[in-house]
Amino acid sequence: MSAGLQNEQPATPSQLVTALQSEHPDWVTEFTEALGEVTAVVPRAYIVEVCSLLKTPAAGEFNFLADLCGVDRGVEEEPRFEVNYHLFSTIRYHRLRLKVLLSENDVHVPTVTGVWRTANWHERETYDLVGIIFDGHPDLRRILLPDDWQGHALRKDFPLRGYEPYSLK
């Protein structure tokens, strides 16, 4: 991939995920393309490997973690939680979304701060509001809510008015 690279059409995110899936079948369990957005569901055990590989120039050059957020899909859902990784390449200008699905009784996921350092605060926010625990995170503290807060405010079973003592209830 040296001389002919200039003439080749660069691989789209869906092609990248397809190549990734054919190379490592375990790494991508589900792959959808809708509304021009590519989403890949990755098992929790491989998320760091997938992210490290996608950051390399051969596999998409996703050098920018645009967002990392947690989702509570509902108390009755199984798996209940998901963590979304929105990847972006400032060089090739394409995007990719990775998802990790987590059940309620085991909300641990490996940290990707070793891949993108910006994941540090994003993972702290996800821990703070949704309660996902990122194993290996260097400084997993609350970032938005007060330090003495109990619970995670964006979980669906958290009351809207909270438990705070200032409320009139």
């Binding site: 109990q150 809207l160 438990y163 705070e164 409320s167």
Partner: protein, 208 residues
């Protein structure tokens, strides 16, 4: 202007008046607010000091960045749960006499933010002297509130404004004095370590 001539002819050298009225007149004529802009109401607060509205006409234009130099705290905006201890500490750091203006619907009652993150009224944290409705209030309303506060200052007595440091002990009552729902997070252990207080003497003063 020749006013010296008029005063010299018309008035004696010694005037008698109540000490309270003299001190209150001096106090109300230079109310220095603490800079405490919290949200969009702060834009209107800044506008109140601008040339069109000119809060300086009422002596309240000198916004001080240090609470040690401020007389009145204008809480302009919604107070988040995380900001509440900071606000209380700044209030505690202001020397007597001190007053609080709650500016806007959010500072007064929480406004539209009826949720876990926003304190439902700043009067849960500090005693408030004047409430301003509006979302946000116009600068004229803030000026009106300052004038109402000036009227209130004129009714005060010097005896009611004493700095009592021991009364502001750090382990005084907490906001947990309000009704707390079941499963509340504020246990007795955290209540002891709150860095701010509810000073009950201000509420006593207000009732007089």
């Amino acid at each position: 202007m020749g006013i010296e001539n008029i005063i010299g002819e018309a008035l004696p050298e010694v005037l008698t008046t109540r000490l309270d009225s003299l001190i209150n007149w001096a106090r109300k004529s230079s109310l220095w607010p603490a800079t405490f802009g919290l949200a969009c109401c702060a834009i209107e607060m800044m506008n109140a000091t601008s040339s069109r509205n000119d809060l300086a006409r009422f002596g309240a234009e000198v916004f001080r960045a240090s609470p040690r130099q401020a007389d009145v705290m204008i809480v302009s905006g919604r107070v988040s749960r995380k900001m509440a201890p900071v606000l209380r500490r700044i209030y505690d750091q202001m020397p007597e006499p001190k007053w609080v203006i709650s500016m806007g619907a959010c500072a007064t009652s929480g406004g539209v933010f009826d949720n876990y993150a926003i304190v439902q009224g700043v009067d849960k944290i500090v005693p408030v002297d004047v409430y301003i409705p509006g979302c946000p209030p116009r600068p004229e309303m803030l000026i009106h509130a300052v004038m109402m506060l000036q009227d209130k200052v004129m009714k005060d007595s010097v005896r009611d404004h004493k700095d009592i440091p021991e009364a502001e002990a750090r382990h005084a009552l907490t906001p947990g004095t309000l009704p707390v729902t079941d499963g509340s997070t504020l246990g007795p252990a955290t209540a002891e370590s709150r860095p701010y207080t509810i000073a009950s003497r201000h509420e006593r003063r207000r009732s007089s």
